[in-house]
């Protein structure tokens, strides 16, 4: 099974440890992982700002980088959703179509493709799971509280396999943190208020760590936690699932 590792641009630059944990985790499960060095970004920052029309080159680059893999795996629900919904290539339509079908967010890949039911990981802390919206409502990583439907959660299921980890309950288990891409600066006041309210929910329930499948949301929450001088830390789910 040849897996192409797709690392979001900001993770590459600011959170290399998340990329490393993702890679090591996939290798542990026997995947033959390759990281195309020429990758940059999925194009989502432009598209969500209304400039999907400018993402043509990003799309071509992405298609070229990832056309030769059985699966493409990425530790971000948001970037995966963008590729799934918006990747098009004028040069290689077949490859783009295949990529849209074969691109997976890390926890859904571990759950649905690798059928992981056991993990060699330990993380003896109280952990709050932040459900990032694109992963949850876009990729259906977890059931959504708005729907009258049976609950499930792929990230929660994996976290429950980690030794010593205690998942906390939240008052609002799937409310948006307010990151929202450029929203976090164009609507700074609301964005921060949403983030503060998420942080408060986790703190009130005794979280040592806030985790999630999207580092962008966690970066936003981390910025608020640090400014508030909170002891609560953020950690990407890949790091926890890979923790020894």
């Amino acid at each position: 099974m040849r897996v192409g590792l797709f690392i979001p641009c900001y993770v590459n630059q600011f959170y290399p440890q998340v990329g490393i944990a993702t890679l090591q985790l996939l290798e542990k499960f026997g995947c033959e992982v390759d990281y195309p060095l020429a990758q940059t970004c999925c194009g989502q920052p432009m598209a969500n700002s209304g400039y999907e029309s400018l993402t043509g080159n990003c799309n071509e680059l992405f298609t070229k980088n990832f056309s030769s893999f059985d699966y493409i795996v990425c530790p971000s629900g948001s970037c995966v959703l963008h590729i799934k919904e918006h990747l098009h290539s004028a040069k290689d339509r077949t490859a783009a179509t295949a990529i849209r079908r074969n691109v997976y967010e890390l926890t859904e890949f571990l759950t649905d493709v690798l059928n992981v039911d056991r993990l060699q990981a330990a993380f003896p802390y109280k952990v709050g799971l932040h459900q990032s919206c694109h992963g949850q409502r876009g990729l259906h990583l977890s059931q959504m509280s708005e729907l009258v439907a049976k609950p499930y959660s792929k990230p929660e299921r994996l976290l429950n396999m980690v030794e010593g980890l205690e998942l906390i309950e939240l008052d609002r288990k799937d409310e948006c943190c307010g990151f929202g891409g450029t929203f976090c600066v164009t609507e700074e006041a609301v964005s921060v208020k949403m983030g503060k309210d998420r942080v408060r929910d986790h703190e009130a329930h005794g979280a040592d760590y806030i985790t999630g499948a999207d580092m962008s949301c966690l970066m936003h929450l981390q910025g608020i936690l640090k400014r508030q001088g909170s002891k609560v830390q953020v950690k990407h789910i890949a790091e926890i699932l890979n923790a020894q």
């Binding site: 641009c9 990329g19 432009m46 969500n48 209304g50 919206c133 009258v148 609507e187 700074e188 921060v192």
Partner: protein
């Protein structure tokens, strides 16, 4: 108050709203409470709920695909029932028609129950200018009217008002004792005040929740009973509706009335679901069918489904942005997520900010009883606004620069490397008050190495 908001954008108005954090918390929690009531009501129908949404959505899709025929069928049936049917191409014509009916009857006063359409058409302002006194009879609407404001929510017009403020307002305008803030007492004060209006006004305006093509009747839903008090005591009843309010058959009400109140407030049904088919003996009944941009929206394939909306307000209550920015920050009659996809159709320039007043979290689409893909339409409006040239030049320049950098891996890696280095050396360069991120958040600490750099050092495949 919200009239003056036309010249500024959502982000600015939201920032103002957020200066009083305790009030934002209160607003957020009040609306979240309604979202929770909605959840319980939805779960009470168990496995019927999701199929019901699906059916409602499909009935609306069908109706929109055959709207011109249904409109004619409805008109004919309504006329046979003795209702006078009027057609208005836009808000201006709607207002003229209503005023024409009033003038014919020499009426200078009227009572009006909730109609978001008349808000959309600015009927109150129009009639005021013509010397007609309009009394809004929905309690929440009366409160904002006394305060010379507009509703901040389509179902809960004064959700942004605190009882202390309402007490003060009623003391000033309705003579209630100073300092009285008990909701029962204040409601009763309004009841006495408005009952006199019901008994003395000869003309009543109501909105329309659903109109039935097959039978020519229309349905108005309220909890207070104000639409019925107004309509049944009036000599002239004028009902105003957007052309998208049609449904084909009476039996379809079974679907929509099961969804409406549960989605709106978590009630199993509104207290009153009144079916107006014929005027009362001796009464005149008028119905104004209003287009006002709806046929344009119908022609926009990506946005057509927004016309399925039944105005339940569930998307407002669930929206984390709405709850923390207040209805007036949307500077349009219909605020919230649905308003943000309806308003740009009416005026892209004026409402170009609204599709960006969202994180695209998608909760709105999930609560929508007619399954409008609201968050996808918000995304799509952003693209249209760019195409039509409504984005600021500076943003376009920045986006083009970003696209150029991200198109070239070598450029991206250099930019990333320098960015991290500069951030490490001169933290003040990004960590300053001019950076909106930094205002209330710390920046992430730049690491020594990017993942790409690490990979090159640590994995065989990384050797270039």
């Amino acid at each position: 108050m919200s009239n003056s908001n036309h010249h500024t954008d959502h982000a600015t108005l939201a920032e103002k709203f957020n200066r009083d954090e305790a009030r934002v918390n209160w607003h957020d929690e009040t609306l979240w409470f309604i979202r929770q009531k909605r959840d319980r009501a939805a779960w009470s129908l168990g496995n019927e709920w999701e199929p019901l949404r699906e059916t409602a959505s499909a009935i609306k899709a069908h109706t929109l695909s055959n709207l011109s025929d249904y409109l004619q069928q409805f008109e004919k049936a309504a006329q046979q029932n003795g209702i006078t049917v009027h057609w208005a191409a836009d808000g201006e014509e709607h207002n003229r028609i209503v005023h024409g009916i009033l003038a014919k009857h020499n009426a200078t006063q009227l009572v009006k129950s909730k109609s978001m359409l008349t808000e959309e058409c600015h009927l109150n302002d129009y009639l005021k200018e013509k010397g007609v006194e309009v009394i809004d009879t929905d309690l929440g609407e009366r409160i904002v009217q006394l305060a010379e404001e507009h509703p901040s929510h389509i179902v809960l017009p004064c959700i942004h008002w605190k009882k202390e403020e309402i007490g003060e307002l009623f003391h000033k305008h309705l003579g209630s004792p100073e300092g009285v803030i008990d909701p029962s007492f204040l409601t009763n004060t309004a009841r006495v005040h408005l009952r006199e209006k019901f008994l003395t006004r000869r003309v009543a305006i109501t909105g329309v929740n659903f109109a039935i093509a097959e039978t020519g009747e229309f349905v108005v839903c309220t909890n207070e009973g104000n639409a019925d008090m107004g309509a049944h005591l009036s000599d002239v009843h004028i009902a105003c509706m957007g052309i998208e309010k049609l449904i084909p058959k009476r039996e379809h009400l079974g679907v929509f009335l099961r969804l409406l109140a549960r989605s709106a407030t978590g009630q199993p049904i509104t207290t009153y679901s009144s079916h107006f088919k014929k005027p009362r003996e001796g009464q005149e009944m008028h119905l104004v069918l209003v287009d006002n941009g709806r046929s344009t929206q119908l022609g926009r394939e990506d946005f057509r489904n927004s016309l399925k909306c039944i105005r339940c307000g569930a998307c407002f209550n669930t929206c984390p942005v709405y709850r923390r920015s207040g209805g007036h920050s949307y500077h349009t009659a219909i605020a919230g997520p649905i308003g943000s996809i309806l308003a740009p159709n009416l005026d892209m320039r004026q409402y170009k900010d609204l599709p960006f007043a969202s994180t695209l979290c998608g909760s709105c689409s999930n609560v929508c009883p007619v399954k409008i893909n609201i968050h996808e339409q918000l995304y799509q409006w952003r693209q249209v606004l760019t195409e039509e040239g409504y984005q600021p030049k500076s943003k376009t320049v920045a986006m083009k620069a970003m696209a150029a950098t991200l198109s070239k891996p070598s450029l991206f890696s250099i930019a990333g490397k320098w960015g991290r280095k500069v951030m490490g050396l001169v933290p003040g360069l990004v960590s300053n008050r001019l950076n909106p991120w930094y205002k209330q958040r710390e920046m992430p600490a730049p690491p020594e190495q990017s993942f790409t750099e690490w990979y090159k050092q640590n994995r065989k495949g990384g050797k270039s």
